[in-house]
Symmetry: C2
Subunit: 430 residues, 2 copies
C-alpha cells in the first residue's frame, strides 16, 4: 500500500506507471510481410496462413449463409436469451446517439449545413483465443447496423478443426452481418483494408486484437489513403475509488474481473480508508482461489497499486491524471461526485454497478480508450460509424453581402484567385 | 481533355491519381531530432531554432498580453470588420453543433449515460509563409472557444525581424486565446505536445503545416500516450461537376482559386459538355494573366484533369470514388442532386457559391479531409474538441434482472471473475 501524501513524487509517478508497450522489431517485420503477401496474393495468401499459422487442413474464407442462419439452434436457451438481451440494451443505448443533420442560415442568403453520412464499409475484428467473444461482436456490430453501414465485414480466427462458435454467429446475425471471414491476425486486417477477390475492401477497421493485429491496423492506417482505424490500443485497466463505507468484497471482485483479462492488465485502488484497503487485499486472496484464470489475475496484480488518499478530492485528481479506461466509484452518494470525473472511458456508479455489467449488457459500449488515451479519445459510439461533411448554398445577394468579409481576407492572405472567384460572379471583375 | 467512356481503365485511374506524398527520410530524421531536442532542452531548444532556422536575433517565445490587446488598432477597418463577420458566421454555424448529454434507461434499474466533455487542452497551429492566415486561426479557434477548452495554445512562426501579423492576433483575441507562441515547424508542434517551462503541454494538436509539421504531428501521435492529432494531411484539392448550363468563367475562377494554394494542389473538372470544358480552358488562360500567384497555379494545373462524362450520374459516381476535399456543383437545380453526393469534405452548391466563401466566411469549416480521406474522416467540427464517455448506475433489482444477460455471457467467454463480480453483489456467491 502506498500512502500518497507520504511518498516522493517519483514514487507517485511509478505507482501510476503503465507497463511499457514494447514496439517489437519482430512484430513489425512479420506484420509488414503479411500485409505485402495479402496485397500481392490476396485470397491465396490468406489460405496459406490458415494452413501454416492456424493448422487448418482445408481452410475456407467465408462462412456460408446457412451456417449463420442455423447458429440459433446450436445455442442453449439461456445463452441465446442473454445475447438477445445484451443486443437489445446496446441497441437502445446507441439508438439515442443517432445524429441529425444541422442547417443554419449564418446570414441572409447564406445557408450552411452539417450532414452526417454513414461510412460506406467497415471491418469488425473479433479476436479468438481461449473463448469466443460474442460481446465484442455486439459492441461493434450494433453500431454498424444502426448507422446503416452498407458493407459490414466481420473477421475472426479459426484454429485447426474448430469452427466459429455459434454465439459469435448468432450475435453477428442479430446485427445483420452476412459477410463473416474465417481469418485472424494481421492477415485478416490486411484483407479487409486492401480487399481480395473474396473479401470486400473496407474504409475503417474496428476491434481489439493481439500485437500483430494492432501493428497491422497502425501500419495500414498510415499507408493507405482513405483508410482509418477506431483508436489506438493498449492493455485494459480499471481504477476504483472507494471510501470507508465501501464493501471490500465488491472492490476485490471488480479488481479481479479486470485482472483476469490479461497479464498486462492494470488495476488501481484509490481509497480513503486504510482498513478497507487491507480487507480488500484479504478478499482478493480469498476470491482468487475459485478463479479459473487465477494465474493471469495474479500476474496482473503485480502491476497494480493500492493507494491511500487523504480525501476523495485527491483521489479524483489522481484519477484524472491517470485517465483510466474503467472508473468504478464505490463511495457514498457516488452520483454527487460525477462532476469531478475527468478523463475516464466508462464510469460505474455505486455498489451495484460492477464493470462486468458494462462489459456485457448494461447497454454502454465496452470498446474504450486505454493507456491514458481517455484524455483525448472517446468511448466507441455511433458517431464513429459516420462521417460529417458540410454543404453551403449562397444566393447572389448573399454573396454580394458576404464579399465584404471574403475580399479583405483574401487580400490579407495574398490569394488573388480567391477574390477573383467572388468578383467575377458579382460582375465587378477588376 | 479525357472522354471518360473512351479511355482505358488505367487511363481513368491515372486521371484521378493524386500526386504521391513522398515520405522523405530526411524529413523524418530532421523531425525526430527536433522532437528529441525539444524533449531534452525545452525552451532553450526553441530559442536556438528561432535563431538558426528563422534568423531571429533576440527571439521570444510568448506574445505579451498587451500586444494581443492592441492588435485591433493596427488593422484597417475593412479587414477588422471582415475578421469579425467571418468570426460571427463561423461561430453561428458551429454553435449549433454543441452536443447534449444523453441519458437512457435501457431496462428497469439500469441507467446509462453518454456524456460529452471538452478536451482539457489543445494546440492550434497556423502556418506562416508568404502571407498571414487569420482564417486558419478562426476555423480552429472558434471551435476550441465554443467547446470550452480550458487551455488553448496557438503557435505560428515568425521570421527575422517580423512580428506576428495583427490580423492573426486579432483573430486569436476574438477566440479568447491568450497563449500565443512565436515558433513554427516541428519545434512548435513538439513544444505543444510535450510542454516546456513556458509552453503548456496539450492533449491534441490541430492545424495544417509543411512536411515537417505533418511529420511531427504523426510521430508524436504514435509515440505519446494520451496525445492525438486532428486528421492526416495531404495537398488541397477541388473537384467541379458542371453541366452545359455552367458558366465557364466561374468554373475557371474556382479551379484557379484552388490551384493557387500550392504547386501540389489538384483540380479536376467533370463536365457533361465538351464546349464548356473548352471554354473553361480558354477562361483559365485569360484569368491566369492577372494572378500574382500564376506560376504556382500553372504548376498545379499540370496535375489536373478535365474529364467529359456521359451524364451527371457518371460524374457523381467518379467523384464518390475520388473523394474530393472540396466539391463544387455548377449544375442546374444543383440542390436536387445533394442526395447523390458521397465522400466529399465540403460541398458548394450553385452558381453563387465559390469555394472561397467556405474558405473564409460562410461559416463552414475550411479544415477538411484531403487525399481521399473524406471517405472516412469528417470535416473539422465542434465534436473534434470534445471526448465522450459513458456512465452507468444500476440498482440492486436492476442488477438482479441484468444478471440473466451477464452471467451466461461471462460463462461463454470463460471469465469467472466477471461473473463473480455480479454474484457476490447479489448475495448468491457460489
Amino acid at each position: 500500500m502506498i500512502v500518497w501524501n507520504e511518498v516522493s513524487e517519483s514514487m507517485q509517478k511509478s505507482a501510476l506507471c503503465r507497463p511499457a508497450i514494447a514496439v517489437s522489431e519482430k512484430v513489425m517485420a512479420v506484420t509488414t510481410s503479411i500485409i505485402e503477401s495479402v496485397k500481392n496474393q490476396g485470397d491465396e495468401a490468406l489460405l496459406e496462413m490458415a494452413k501454416n499459422f492456424d493448422n487448418r487442413k482445408s481452410p475456407r474464407l467465408l462462412v456460408p449463409q446457412e451456417e449463420i442462419e442455423q447458429s440459433t439452434s446450436a445455442l442453449s436457451t439461456e445463452l441465446k436469451e442473454a445475447i438477445e438481451r445484451a443486443y437489445q440494451n446496446i441497441r437502445t443505448f446507441h439508438e439515442c446517439q443517432k445524429p441529425s443533420d444541422i442547417s443554419v442560415k449564418t446570414q441572409p442568403g447564406v445557408d450552411c449545413m452539417l450532414k452526417f453520412q454513414a461510412i460506406e464499409s467497415v471491418g469488425l475484428y473479433v479476436p479468438g483465443g481461449s473463448a469466443p467473444l460474442p460481446s465484442s461482436v455486439l459492441m461493434q456490430g450494433v453500431c454498424a447496423q444502426l448507422a446503416g453501414v452498407k458493407t459490414i465485414v466481420l473477421a475472426t480466427p479459426v484454429k485447426g478443426d474448430d469452427s466459429i462458435h455459434p454465439a459469435i454467429l448468432y450475435a453477428a446475425k442479430l446485427c445483420g452481418i452476412n459477410t463473416i471471414v474465417e481469418a485472424g491476425g494481421a492477415g485478416a486486417i490486411a484483407a479487409m483494408a486492401l480487399g481480395t477477390s473474396t473479401i470486400p475492401k473496407v474504409n475503417k477497421v474496428f476491434g481489439p486484437g493481439n500485437s500483430y493485429v494492432t501493428m497491422a491496423k497502425q501500419l495500414l492506417s498510415q499507408q493507405l489513403p482513405g483508410f482509418a482505424i477506431d483508436m489506438p490500443a493498449g492493455p485494459s485497466e480499471v481504477l476504483v475509488i472507494a471510501d470507508d463505507g465501501a464493501n471490500p468484497a465488491f472492490i476485490a471482485a471488480d479488481l479481479l474481473s479486470q485482472a483476469e483479462h490479461g497479464e498486462d492488465s492494470q488495476v488501481i485502488l484509490l481509497c480513503t480508508s486504510e482498513s478497507v484497503i487491507q480487507e480488500t487485499k484479504v478478499e482478493i486472496g480469498q476470491q482468487l482461489k475459485a478463479l479459473s484464470r487465477a494465474n493471469i489475475a495474479r500476474a496482473a496484480l503485480e502491476n497494480s497499486s493500492f493507494i491511500l488518499t487523504e480525501s476523495l478530492e485527491q483521489a479524483f485528481s489522481i484519477s484524472a491524471e491517470y485517465g483510466p479506461e474503467h472508473l468504478i466509484l464505490q463511495i457514498r452518494r457516488a452520483d454527487d461526485y460525477l462532476d469531478q470525473v475527468k478523463n475516464a472511458g466508462s464510469v460505474f456508479v455505486g455498489d451495484f454497478t460492477p464493470e462486468s455489467a458494462g462489459d456485457y449488457a448494461s447497454g454502454t459500449n465496452h470498446v474504450l480508450p486505454t493507456y491514458g488515451y481517455s484524455k483525448v479519445y472517446s468511448s466507441l459510439n455511433l458517431l464513429d460509424f459516420y462521417r460529417t461533411y458540410t454543404v453551403q448554398q449562397i444566393t447572389q445577394n448573399g454573396l454580394q453581402e458576404l464579399s465584404r468579409a471574403i475580399l479583405p481576407l483574401a487580400e490579407a492572405e495574398g490569394l488573388d484567385a480567391h477574390a477573383n472567384a467572388v468578383t467575377i460572379r458579382l460582375g465587378v471583375q477588376q
